[in-house]
C-alpha cells in the first residue's frame, strides 16, 4: 500500500453545502440525514466478528486525519440483520449471512496462523499483507475458510459491500469532487472542463487547461 495520506483534489468542496438548494429534494435530504444521524447498532455480528470487520473496513478504506471517520461496519451489520441482499448468491458460496460470518472467522484465523493474534490486534502493515494475500487467494489457514472461496468472498462480497457503503456518504462524494444530489436542479454545463457554480470548482489542473 502507499503511505497513509490522502489529498483530495477538491479540498474546499463539500456536497452538504448545497443542502438547502434545489440540488436536494426532500426524499434525498431525508435519506442522507438518516444515514448521517442514525448509525445502526450492532445486531447481526458477534462482538468479536464486529471488531474484526471494523478493523478490515479501516484497511479497505483507511481514513487517517478524519476526526469522525465514515462508519461502514454498522451498515453492513444492519443490512445483514435486515436480510437485505444483493440479489446474487454465487453457487460456490454460502448465503450472504453465512459467508460473512465464515469470512470474519477465516480472516481472524489467517491472522492467528501468521502472527498469532487476532486481526484487529495487528499493525496496519500486517493487516494489509493479510488482506493482499486473501485477495490473491493465498490462504495460510485454508481450513478456516472451509467451502468459502477466499478471493471471491473478498472481492465480490467484502470489498464490494464496504465500498458501496463508503462511496454513498457525503464525505466520500466531496473528496472525489462528485456533484452529489442533483434533483430537481440537474446540470447545465456538460462539456470538458466545464462546471456549474453548484459543482466542485474545477481542480487546479483542470482550471489551468
Amino acid at each position: 500500500m502507499t503511505d497513509d495520506r490522502f489529498d483530495s483534489p477538491y479540498p474546499r468542496y463539500d456536497v452538504l453545502e448545497k443542502w438547502d438548494t434545489p440540488s436536494y429534494n426532500d426524499q434525498t435530504r431525508e435519506a442522507l440525514a438518516k444515514r448521517m444521524d442514525e448509525v445502526p447498532p450492532r445486531r447481526f455480528f458477534t462482538a468479536a466478528e464486529f471488531t474484526t470487520l471494523q478493523a478490515v473496513c479501516a484497511r479497505v478504506v483507511p481514513q487517517p486525519g478524519r476526526a469522525a471517520p465514515v462508519p461502514i461496519a454498522p451498515f453492513i451489520d444492519s443490512d445483514l440483520h435486515a436480510g437485505r441482499g444483493t440479489g446474487t448468491r454465487y453457487a460456490a458460496m454460502p448465503d450472504d449471512r453465512t459467508a460473512w460470518r465464515q469470512g470474519m472467522a477465516a480472516i481472524d484465523a489467517e491472522a492467528k496462523a501468521r502472527h498469532g493474534s487476532t486481526f484487529a490486534e495487528l499493525a496496519d502493515a500486517q493487516q494489509d499483507s493479510i488482506l493482499s494475500a486473501i485477495n490473491q487467494g493465498e490462504c495460510a489457514a485454508s481450513g478456516a475458510w472451509r467451502d468459502l472461496p477466499a478471493q471471491d468472498f473478498f472481492r465480490k462480497l467484502l470489498l464490494k459491500w464496504i465500498v458501496s457503503v463508503y462511496y454513498v456518504h457525503p464525505a466520500a462524494m466531496s473528496e472525489i469532487g462528485y456533484g452529489g444530489p442533483a434533483s430537481p436542479r440537474g446540470y447545465v454545463r456538460l462539456g470538458p472542463n466545464e462546471a456549474d457554480p453548484w459543482e466542485a470548482p474545477l481542480s487546479e489542473k483542470g482550471a489551468r487547461q
Binding site: 426524499q27 472525489i176 440537474g186 454545463r189
Partner: protein, 556 residues
C-alpha cells in the same frame, strides 16, 4: 427532521398503492388516478404477470382494444417525483434483490445488474440506450450462419420499432450512421457530454463513425414530463420523469384504458384445468395467497422469473412445467458481455453529468467484411458515466484493489472516461434457468441461473477490449485498465416456428397451452449486439396487435 411528515415513511414498498379503484398518478407527488378494479372471481380476459417492457405494452394495447386486463407486479408502484432520492443506496429499492443462485463456468451478477422489480419493470432503472437490431439478426442462422432465426420479418419489426420509439419519444440523431435508413427520431439528440466526446474523439482519430446515442429520455417537454436535466442518475431512477420508462408511458395509458395494475403482487403459480388449459394465476398480495380467474394468462416476468414461474406451475398434465414439452423452458439464456476499458484524462470530464451513455459506436455490428473480425455476432459500445458507488464496486470486484490505492484511484473520478461494450453472446442450451432446492419467503423455489461463455463469446469480447483500448488511447487516455462483466438478460423461452425447437410461436402463444402466452425479453432467440429493451418493446407491440387480430378472428 422533526415536525415534518417523513416522505419515506409512506413507502411504496410497504403497502400496495393501487387499491380501492385508484392508482398512483406518476406525474404527481401524492395524487392518484382512477383505476378499474376486477374481482378475483371475475374471469378477466387477460392476466398479465409483470409490467415491464413486455407486460406494460400489452396491458396498454390490450386494454385500449377493449380487453379486460389485470397486470401484476411483484414490486412497488412508485411516484418518481416523491419517491426517488439522489442516492445510490436508497434507490436499491428498484432492484430484484431476492436471493437467486448464480452458477456455471462464468456465473453472472444478478440484482441491480439486470433485474428490476417495480411497476414499469427494469425500464425504471435502465440506462435508456435505445438501439435497434440490425435487420440480418432476425435471420441470424440463415443469413449469418450462427444462433437461430426469429419467426419474424425484420421489416415488420422495424415498423414496430417506429411505433414504440414514438411512444417513448426517443431522442436520437438526425442521421444514424449504421444500417438501413430509418425515419426521423421523434425528438432530437441530446447534447453530447464530455464523456461522450471522448468516444467521438477516439472514433474520429481511428476513422470510424460514431453517433449521439438515441436515448429514452426527453430532449424537450412531452405531456407532463419535463426534459432531462442531466442529473445523471438514470440507473437509480429518474426523479425528473424525463426518462420515458414504461412506468410513465405505457402504464398511464393502460390505466386510462381501463386496465387494473396490482402492485406488490407476486404471482406464484399459473393454474391449469383438467384439459391443461390455464385458468388463472395464484398470487400473493397483502399477506395472503389469492387466485385471479382469467381467460388468458400472459407471462412477462423477464428471462429468469418467466421460466421460473412456468417451471413452478407444473401439474399432472405438465409434469416438467407449463409449456415445456420441448424441454426448452429456461434454456438458451443469454447476456451481453459488458467489458469495459477506462482511462484517465488531462481534462475534467465529470461523467456524472447527463445520461451515462451519450455517444455510441455500432461499427462492429455491421463490419462483416473486416478481416480482423474473428467472431460471429457483433457488439456496440458506449461512453460511460457510473456513479461513485457503482464505479468503486466494479473496480474492487475486478481488481481487488483496496486501501489508499483505491481512494487515490477514486479521487481521479472526475478525470475518468470509459468505453463499455454490449457484446452478443451465443444462445447455448446449457445456459439456463432451473429451479433450485431452496425456497424463498413465499415458499417458492429459488431460481438457479447457469451461465458460461463459449469460445466465440470470448473471442468477441477480446476483440472488443482490444479495439476499445486502441480507441481510448487514440482519444489520449492514460493509465488504461479493464473491467469485465455482463449486462441484460435475453432468452429463456424462445419463440420460433417449430414446437420442437421453441417454447412459443411468433405470436408469443405457447405451443402446449393455447391460452398461455409469453411476452418479454425471454422470447428473444438471439441477443444481438445492442441493448435489448427497444426490441422487447417492439416485439410486444407486435404481439399485442397479433393478439388483437386473433381476437377479431375469434381465436382468442
Amino acid at each position: 427532521m422533526s415536525g415534518r411528515v417523513s416522505v419515506l415513511d409512506d413507502a411504496a414498498e410497504l403497502r400496495p398503492r393501487a387499491v380501492s379503484g385508484r392508482a398512483p398518478d406518476v406525474f404527481s407527488r401524492e395524487d392518484c388516478v382512477p383505476m378499474a378494479q376486477f374481482r378475483d372471481e371475475e374471469e378477466v380476459d387477460f392476466a398479465i404477470v409483470g409490467t415491464g417492457c413486455g407486460g406494460g405494452v400489452l396491458a396498454a394495447k390490450l386494454a385500449e382494444a377493449g380487453g379486460s386486463v389485470v397486470a401484476f407486479d411483484a414490486g412497488p408502484f412508485f411516484r418518481p417525483l416523491a419517491d426517488f432520492a439522489s442516492d445510490e443506496r436508497e434507490q436499491e429499492k428498484l432492484y430484484w434483490l431476492e436471493e437467486r443462485i448464480s452458477d456455471g463456468e462464468n456465473p453472472i451478477e444478478l440484482g441491480s445488474n439486470n433485474s428490476g422489480r417495480c411497476v414499469g419493470g427494469s425500464t425504471v432503472h435502465f440506462q435508456m440506450v435505445a438501439l435497434r437490431f440490425r435487420p440480418e439478426w432476425f435471420q441470424a442462422r440463415t443469413k449469418l450462419g450462427y444462433g437461430a432465426d426469429w419467426p419474424v420479418d425484420w421489416r415488420e419489426m422495424w415498423r414496430y420499432y417506429e411505433e414504440v420509439e414514438k411512444a417513448c419519444s426517443i431522442s436520437g440523431p438526425i442521421r444514424y450512421p449504421w444500417g438501413p435508413k430509418r425515419g426521423r427520431y421523434p425528438y432530437r439528440a441530446h447534447e453530447v457530454n464530455a464523456a461522450g466526446l471522448v468516444l467521438a474523439r477516439g472514433a474520429e482519430a481511428l476513422g470510424i463513425d460514431w453517433a449521439p446515442t438515441p436515448l429514452c429520455t426527453l430532449s424537450a417537454p412531452h405531456g407532463k414530463s419535463p426534459p432531462c436535466v442531466y442529473r445523471g442518475m438514470c440507473k437509480i431512477g429518474c426523479s425528473t420523469n424525463a426518462k420515458q420508462s414504461v412506468l410513465v408511458t405505457y402504464i398511464p395509458r393502460a390505466l386510462a384504458a381501463g386496465a387494473e395494475i396490482r402492485d406488490l403482487a407476486t404471482v406464484g403459480r399459473i393454474e391449469t384445468d383438467r384439459w391443461g388449459r390455464a385458468t388463472g394465476v395464484a398470487y400473493f398480495r397483502e399477506g395472503r395467497w389469492r387466485f385471479q380467474k382469467a381467460r388468458h394468462v400472459i407471462v412477462a416476468g423477464y428471462s429468469i422469473e418467466t421460466p421460473r414461474l412456468l417451471l413452478n406451475s407444473h401439474s399432472a398434465r405438465h409434469p416438467d412445467g407449463l409449456a415445456n414439452s420441448s424441454g426448452l423452458v429456461g434454456r438458451h439464456l443469454m447476456v451481453h458481455s459488458n467489458h469495459a476499458v477506462w482511462a484517465e484524462f488531462d481534462e475534467e470530464i465529470r461523467w456524472y453529468k447527463g445520461p451515462p451513455s451519450m455517444a455510441c459506436c455500432e461499427h462492429w455490428n455491421y463490419a462483416d467484411d473486416d478481416p480482423t473480425k474473428d467472431f460471429d455476432g457483433g457488439y456496440a459500445f458506449m461512453s460511460q458515466g457510473p456513479l461513485p458507488s457503482d464505479f468503486a464496486t466494479s473496480i474492487v470486484t475486478n481488481s481487488g484493489e483496496f486501501g489508499m490505492d483505491l481512494r487515490a484511484r477514486m479521487a481521479k473520478y472526475n478525470r475518468m472516461a470509459g468505453l463499455k461494450m454490449v457484446g452478443e453472446t451465443m444462445p447455448q442450451a446449457d445456459n439456463r434457468v432451473t429451479l433450485s432446492e431452496g425456497k424463498d419467503d413465499l415458499g417458492l423455489p429459488r431460481p438457479r441461473v447457469t451461465f458460461g461463455y463459449c469460445d466465440n463469446d470470448k473471442r468477441l469480447y477480446a476483440h472488443a477490449l482490444d479495439f476499445m483500448g486502441r480507441m481510448i488511447e487514440a482519444a489520449e487516455g492514460k493509465n488504461r485498465f479493464e473491467t469485465e462483466g455482463t449486462a441484460h438478460l435475453m432468452g429463456g423461452c424462445r419463440m420460433g416456428e417449430d414446437p420442437k425447437t421453441s417454447v412459443v410461436n411468433a405470436d408469443g402463444r405457447s405451443w402446449d397451452v393455447p391460452n398461455l402466452w409469453v411476452c418479454d425479453g425471454s422470447l428473444m432467440p438471439t441477443g444481438g449486439g445492442v441493448n435489448p429493451s427497444m426490441t422487447i418493446l417492439a416485439n410486444a407491440a407486435r404481439i399485442a396487435d397479433r393478439m388483437i387480430a386473433a381476437g377479431r378472428r375469434g381465436e382468442v
